[in-house]
Assembly symmetry: C2
Homo-oligomer: 105 residues x 2
């Protein structure tokens, strides 16, 4: 992943509402959740939620697919893993932990 894409993903996940949305979708697994289900969990007005979800979709972190009347949102695990890989390799590498753990690693 390139640094600009990483910054974009981090920026989108850097909003508390959006991070909660994304976490909720991850917990839901690959099948994800309809927008309405997310709204029930988060207690945010529909238009505000839609706005935040569209940010996540724009960054490629979430995909949407219509299923009848509901719009199902699914997290992109591969992109998220790529982001974590970027952070690990580019922003956390080359230094050993100050006090290496033996059983918690």
């Amino acid at each position: 992943m390139e640094i600009l894409q990483a910054a974009r993903c981090l920026d989108k996940l850097g909003n508390p509402t959006r991070l909660e949305v994304f976490r909720l979708l991850v917990k839901a697994g690959r099948e994800g959740l309809p927008v309405g289900d997310i709204q029930e969990h988060l207690d945010v007005p529909a238009s505000t939620l839609s706005h935040h979800i569209s940010h996540l979709v724009n960054a490629g972190l979430v995909h949407q697919e219509r299923e009848g009347r509901v719009l199902r949102c699914r997290p992109d695990f591969e992109l998220m893993q790529a982001l974590i890989d970027f952070m690990t390799e580019e922003c956390c590498e080359g230094v050993e932990p100050a006090q290496p753990k033996r059983d918690a690693g």
Copy 2:
């Protein structure tokens, strides 16, 4: 790490300039770099750079210590690791990769 702290860190790292600053500091290792050295790498006006660094310091991602005339900036590897752990556990868990890799991981 709690979700609000994670969001805060992600937000701060979600700016391209700040992400570059942080990555540069990580590459420099535990001794970090003086502000001036960062500026030479990034080509950003001093006041703008200072502003961005203060964001990182406020979030706890960077620490500053004066050394004579220069201010040395060091990345907080432990906090960054905690953030990565949060993302891995809370935002990427419970699902196996679609096509597990055996030698490219």
